[in-house]
């Protein structure tokens, strides 16, 4: 008797709290509606991976077929190839892309003329704000047979390189163009971390006779170590997703075999071949689940290394 009384009073308290905050809920309403429809709607749509999609019945009405669709997915050799290719390309990014902004920030920090530092930084950050369509349009021209790059090589008396449409060069091209576009932007985070290092450490080291290089290695690098670790872990969290825009716009039929990452595969089976939406949803679900675990692991790890995780 008294238990149900306590319960009902708790419900009453809940409702008075809700009523008191009704304007806050009204503020939330529009955003929550958007999330419900356009973020959670597609999540519900993932159930299609276990259904046979029929356009007339829609997502809700299509009949359940269990895990049959996944059997088809795993039977397609192009699927597993694309997964491995994605992981391989993005693991390469850890080696050929990840350190560049760190090095760039260390070098920029050593520039002692304030004005040239600012100009350099502006130049480095600008390309980040251009879309991959623009950047790839520029790169396809610049690195093409008539482009500046090959003109320069010819002027120096070398043999022109056929870079565009050459499948051997495709993956290095990804790393080079990504560095060209975004290394300067990524360096900003490390610059901020460097600015937070206690200046007295440098002065003490200077008095002790440490050289610039020694100060860089023994003070600056340890000073940004936490930031570097956290950024590295977050990059690992993006192993499955990084680079669709880039790959999509830089690839062409000649490089199709080396450019089919998982996202490219999903795009192809959904929008280019005879589309079987259950099939592509199953691939989507596979990707989302793997990606989820990578991100959660990244979040946990970055907290362990002193970062504040994905959400702050």
């Amino acid at each position: 008797m008294s238990q149900s009384k306590a319960k009902s009073s708790r419900i009453a308290l809940f409702w008075t709290q809700v009523k008191k905050n009704r304007q806050v809920y009204f503020l939330l309403l529009f955003g929550i509606l958007w999330y419900a429809i356009f973020a959670y709607g597609p999540m519900y749509g993932l159930t299609l991976a276990f259904k046979q999609y029929r356009a007339v019945d829609g997502i809700f009405g299509s009949p359940w077929v269990g895990t049959q669709v996944f059997e088809y997915v795993f039977r397609d050799p192009a699927f597993m190839d694309s997964v491995i290719r994605t992981l391989w390309i993005n693991a390469g990014r850890m080696i050929f892309q990840f350190p560049i902004p760190v090095i760039l920030s260390l070098l920029l920090n050593e520039v002692r003329l304030g004005k040239s530092k600012k100009v350099l930084q502006s130049i480095f950050t600008f390309p980040h704000f251009l879309s991959w369509i623009i950047v790839s349009s520029i790169m396809l021209n610049v690195l093409g047979s008539q482009g500046v790059f090959n003109s320069f090589i010819k002027l120096m008396g070398g043999e022109p390189l056929s870079i565009i449409g050459n499948s051997n060069f495709f993956v290095p091209l990804l790393y080079i163009t990504e560095n060209w576009k975004s290394a300067g932007w990524s360096a900003i985070i490390y610059m901020a971390a460097i600015a937070g290092i206690d200046q007295e450490q440098y002065e003490a080291a200077e008095i002790d006779g440490a050289s610039r290089l020694q100060r860089m290695i023994h003070i600056t690098l340890p000073g940004i170590q936490v930031t570097v670790t956290v950024m590295f872990i977050l990059a690992v969290g993006n192993l499955m997703t990084a680079g669709f825009d880039q790959v999509f716009n830089l690839s062409n039929p000649a490089t199709a075999t080396v450019a089919e990452t998982l996202d490219m595969y999903i795009y192809r089976v959904t929008f280019q071949s005879a589309s079987d939406f259950s099939f592509s949803t199953a691939v989507s679900l596979f990707k989302s689940v793997i990606n989820f675990f990578l991100l959660v692991a990244a979040d946990r790890l970055s907290k362990r290394f002193g970062g504040s995780g994905l959400f702050g």
């Binding site: 939330l28 529009f30 955003g31 299609l48 760039l104 002692r112 879309s131 610049v142 008539q146 504040s308």
Partner: protein, 302 residues
């Protein structure tokens, strides 16, 4: 104290002689900067060059006989204007919607305790970790009968959760007493948001508006999937189709007459590149500090 030592350090640094190390670092950085600038100079030069000059010159960085003919052909084609119109519509309707949704959610979630707050917050944060992906979104748009409507592109990108968190943490940093005193005066939540919070939050509002505007300007993937009609193509996709078209032409034709034809199309392509990135180029120098501020607020949080 700290600023004092920093000034001292700076002074001493300036008095130091220009070491070999300085020189090496500067050379590396200047080479990097040149590697970024040269492609832009080349693109600008080609867009103003005649096909003859492009063919003959060994290294074209400055056209000796600049011409506007590439730009004339580009605008005569008409697609670029359709692109500009579509992108401007998406931007002018989309960004206010982005800002309205983001600001209202960020403010509501920055308020003190209310029932289900944690639930809503985690439900929103969860979307950063897990999403349905493009296929269910496409089917959803079909079932809502939004495909081939500009609203599909506008609504598909409503709230960027990352920007929302940046904004929320800014709102949380404002003193509570402001809100409390306004509440004593009988102001409702919407009044507080618009009259008190927003005027105090102009730096973050400007930063997030800029982020959304650049995102909208550069948006193409959703449009490529959702929009089919030829008079509703955003600028980025117009550029993409022009680039692909020109590349296809070059591989198809091999005769010398065709080569000069394809060279000309290079000029047209590069003119299209310039026209597409011009707005970003123009605003970047003024807005750079906001972009940097934005990522730094984000970096402190993330």
């Amino acid at each position: 104290m700290k600023t004092g030592t920093a000034i001292l350090h700076k002074k001493r640094g300036l008095r130091d002689r220009f070491e070999v190390m300085d020189f090496i670092i500067l050379v590396i950085l200047v080479i990097w900067a040149i590697a970024i600038i040269i492609p832009f100079i080349s693109v600008i030069a080609i867009s103003f060059a005649t096909p003859q000059e492009y063919l003959e010159s060994k290294l074209l960085l400055f056209p000796t006989r600049p011409t506007l003919s590439n730009y004339e052909t580009l605008f005569a084609d008409g697609r670029i204007l359709v692109g500009y119109r579509t992108t401007l519509i998406i931007l002018l309707i989309g960004v206010p919607i982005n800002m309205f949704l983001t600001t209202s959610v960020a403010y509501a979630l920055s308020r003190g305790h209310f029932p289900l707050k944690k639930f809503f917050l985690y439900a929103i944060l969860f979307t950063m970790l897990f999403n349905g992906g493009i296929v269910p979104l496409y089917l959803l748009m079909m079932e809502l009968h939004l495909t081939n409507s500009i609203w599909s592109v506008i609504l598909a990108y409503g709230v960027n959760t990352f920007y929302m968190i940046i904004m929320r943490s800014y709102f949380q940093s404002l003193p509570d007493s402001l809100i409390e005193s306004a509440q004593l005066d009988g102001a409702g939540e919407w009044t507080i948001l618009f009259r008190i919070i927003l005027p105090l939050s102009m730096p973050i509002i400007a930063t997030v508006t800029l982020f959304y505007s650049v995102d909208r300007w550069n948006e193409w993937f959703n449009a490529m999937i959702f929009l089919r009609s030829n008079n509703m193509i955003p600028l980025q996709l117009v550029l993409r189709s022009m680039v692909l078209e020109a590349t296809a032409q070059r591989t198809m034709m091999a005769s010398s007459a065709a080569i000069s034809q394809s060279m000309f199309s290079d000029g047209l392509k590069m003119a299209a590149v310039i026209v597409t990135m011009l707005p970003i180029m123009c605003v970047f120098p003024f807005l750079q500090k906001y972009f940097v501020k934005g990522i730094l607020i984000g970096a402190v949080k993330a």
